[in-house]
């Protein structure tokens, strides 16, 4: 357990030091996105990596959080913090209610059902023009503020977002190392065996689905209030796939892996500007290659490659004897 605390504190220190190294506003802005994506990847990983239940509709929950926040603050002049809480509660309840029928499904059926759910939500964003502004989006969403500090520049947003991200990481670490975390992994390995051992798999799956949706909704609210503008295009099927890619690349069932995956996939397109739209080819290839050759993701794959190299050199060395 001590090692876990050290690792977490190390991450906190890194997060605190990054703004000292990255002065440039643009890179800092990218780091804000890394934080939001890390929260989303983390939320998906709890469901996909730990409980073994796929969701291809995470972008929908993210978008719902953003839109509920956006609509409540612009049309109803609510305080952003209150809007954020309402958004989180609304999305959590929605996920809880829909979780019961949807998580009865398994494998491909679950993938298709969550995909369908995500697309329905996306279509509503586009079509409910009176409330959402339709395809051209919703603008003028107010920034969050605490005691006179308005989060209106990249540096302040960086600390705001990463504050939330670190809290989510801490809570998730706590969760996966608890009894519930072990129960989730038992569902992943064999749902029948888990149930025989007395794990209430049905409720637990729904709860983790709702938690995952809740974290995504909070990320969505944060996104809306930091960007002050949202449009449906950010919450489509492609983004759901991008989130799955982050989790797979980082490593299933690894909290730090999700952060690594989110960081890589958020910065990669920024570094490879020439790719522009073609980044989806890179995502596609990454998904296939990683699943085929490194199913544990980078977090597990790189140490494995190292130890195999080591093992090989040892074997070669000892061959003569």
């Amino acid at each position: 357990m001590n090692r876990e605390i050290v690792k977490y504190l190390l991450l906190v220190v890194v997060v605190l030091f990054i703004p000292l190294l990255v002065h440039e506003g643009y890179m800092l802005n990218v780091m804000v996105f890394v934080g939001i994506h890390a929260m989303l990847a983390l939320a998906l990983n709890l469901l996909l990596g730990y409980a073994g239940q796929i969701s291809l509709g995470q972008a929908g929950f993210f978008g719902l959080g953003a839109y509920v926040s956006g609509i409540l603050t612009t049309s109803f002049n609510l305080d952003p913090w209150i809007a954020m809480i309402i958004a989180a509660i609304f999305v959590t309840l929605l996920a809880f209610v829909i979780g019961f029928p949807i998580l009865k499904l398994k494998g491909h059926y679950l993938a298709m059902a969550t995909l369908g759910l995500g697309i329905i939500i996306y279509i509503v964003f586009n079509e409910a023009v009176d409330h959402t502004g339709g395809p051209s989006g919703l603008s003028g969403i107010p920034n969050l503020k605490i005691a006179g500090i308005v989060f209106d520049n990249d540096l302040k947003n960086y600390f705001l977002i990463w504050g939330f991200t670190l809290v989510s990481i801490g809570l998730s670490l706590n969760l996966v190392h608890s009894r519930i975390g072990r129960a989730l992994r038992s569902i992943h390995d064999s749902e029948v065996a888990a149930r025989v051992m007395g794990v209430n798999a049905r409720i637990l799956k729904v709860q983790i689905f709702a938690l995952s949706a809740c974290i995504s909704a909070v990320a969505g609210s944060l996104y809306a209030h930091t960007m002050t503008f949202i449009a449906p295009a950010s919450f489509g099927f492609n983004f759901s796939v991008e989130l799955v890619t982050m989790v797979i690349i980082g490593g299933l069932a690894s909290i730090y892996g999700s952060i690594l995956g989110a960081a890589l996939l958020t910065m990669l397109p920024e570094l490879l500007r020439t790719f522009q739209d073609y980044d989806i080819i890179v995502y596609g290839l990454l998904l296939i290659v990683m699943t085929m050759y490194m199913p544990g993701g980078l977090v597990n794959g790189i140490p494995a490659v190292f130890s195999r190299l080591k093992g090989k050199s040892k074997r070669e060395g000892g061959g003569d004897a």
């Binding site: 996909l48 073994g52 796929i54 291809l56 029928p101 949807i102 009865k104 499904l105 398994k106 494998g107 491909h108 059926y109 993938a111 298709m112 059902a113 995909l115 369908g116 759910l117 697309i119 329905i120 279509i123 509503v124 586009n126 079509e127 029948v192 099927f237 492609n238 796939v241 799955v244 797979i248 739209d277 073609y278 989806i280 080819i281 995502y283 596609g284 290839l285 990454l286 998904l287 296939i288 699943t291 085929m292 199913p295």
Partner: protein
């Protein structure tokens, strides 16, 4: 137009889009039955059909029938290649891994088409003019007739193949029990390979015959694929009549919904139906319930 005329019109156009969904759905079912894989790249094979036809017509200046034939063959090749490169090398396939690989494949194919072609929408010429034909008080385009005819031919050919050829029977055996099929000497991996090739062919045909009506571009596959899956689910993921009825039902409901309720929510209708079926009758409207085997 009176309401009854309108409804007749919606029914006709619904039937023709439904036929397309049925073709795509059968593709899903064939792969699922021989491998337990839901091929998320199925829609991309549909898209490839349309885009290849366009390529052969515009770039190679070939006549339409030749282009169509070549496009179907090329897509069959793509389906087979996809299986060879991604599915077969898998050492220990898990359902999750297969979902992710086929999703990866679908966005890869989409990306490559965008790269070598472009992001614009293109139209294919109608197979035989676009003079509307009057049926009662509703009109129908010659292309609709082509859709009905070619879908019927494809489904019949498919049926004959699975009923009367040795390969078709072997594939059905794999669908019933892969292990037992292997034990009686059927090369299961080869059947998996065939199933990808066949559903590539059916998918591309669907993509080609619908292209003159709805245009084609690198990203048409997503929606068409999902609706084909919806048709297959309604039919209980069997390659036969169930999926055809499922496709037609979906096409009609969608067309009626778009016409009478709201055209903006047209695509949402298919997904709401999909969710309802999955929630209430996951074995499909025409399927029998199955118990889980552990």
């Amino acid at each position: 137009m009176e309401l009854s005329d309108q409804i007749a019109q919606y029914l006709l156009s619904g039937l023709s889009t439904g036929a397309i969904y049925a073709l795509i759905g059968i593709g899903f079912a064939i792969i699922y039955n021989s491998t337990d894989i839901i091929n998320f790249a199925q829609g991309e094979l549909v898209m490839l059909g349309g885009m290849f036809t366009l390529f052969f017509m515009e770039k190679m200046k070939l006549p339409l029938p030749v282009s169509i034939l070549l496009a179907v063959l090329a897509t069959i090749g793509c389906g087979a290649l996809f299986e060879r490169l991604t599915i077969r090398p898998l050492k220990s396939p898990t359902p999750l891994g297969l979902i992710i690989i086929t999703i990866g494949g679908s966005i890869l194919i989409r990306g490559i088409v965008m790269l070598v072609w472009d992001k614009d929408t293109h139209s294919l010429p109608a197979f035989s003019g676009s003079e509307p034909i009057l049926i009662g008080s509703a009109t129908i385009l010659p292309q609709h007739l082509w859709i009905f005819a070619l879908t019927a031919v494809a489904i019949a050919a498919n049926k004959l193949f699975f009923q009367y050829t040795i390969t078709g029977k072997a594939m059905r055996a794999c669908a019933v029990n892969r292990r037992a099929a292997g034990l009686v000497g059927i090369d299961v991996r080869r059947m998996v390979f065939f199933s990808f090739a066949i559903s590539g062919g059916l998918g591309s045909l669907a993509g080609i015959i619908v292209a003159p009506l709805t245009m084609t571009s690198y990203d048409v596959g997503v929606m068409l694929g999902l609706k084909g899956f919806c048709a297959a689910i309604i039919g209980g993921l069997t390659g036969g009549v169930g999926t055809v009825l499922g496709g037609l039902l979906l096409g009609i409901l969608e067309s009626l919904g778009a016409g009478l309720i709201s055209s903006g929510y047209k695509d949402a209708i298919a997904f709401i139906i999909l969710l309802l079926i999955l929630f209430i009758r996951p074995q499909g409207l025409f399927g029998r319930a199955q118990t889980d085997r552990v």
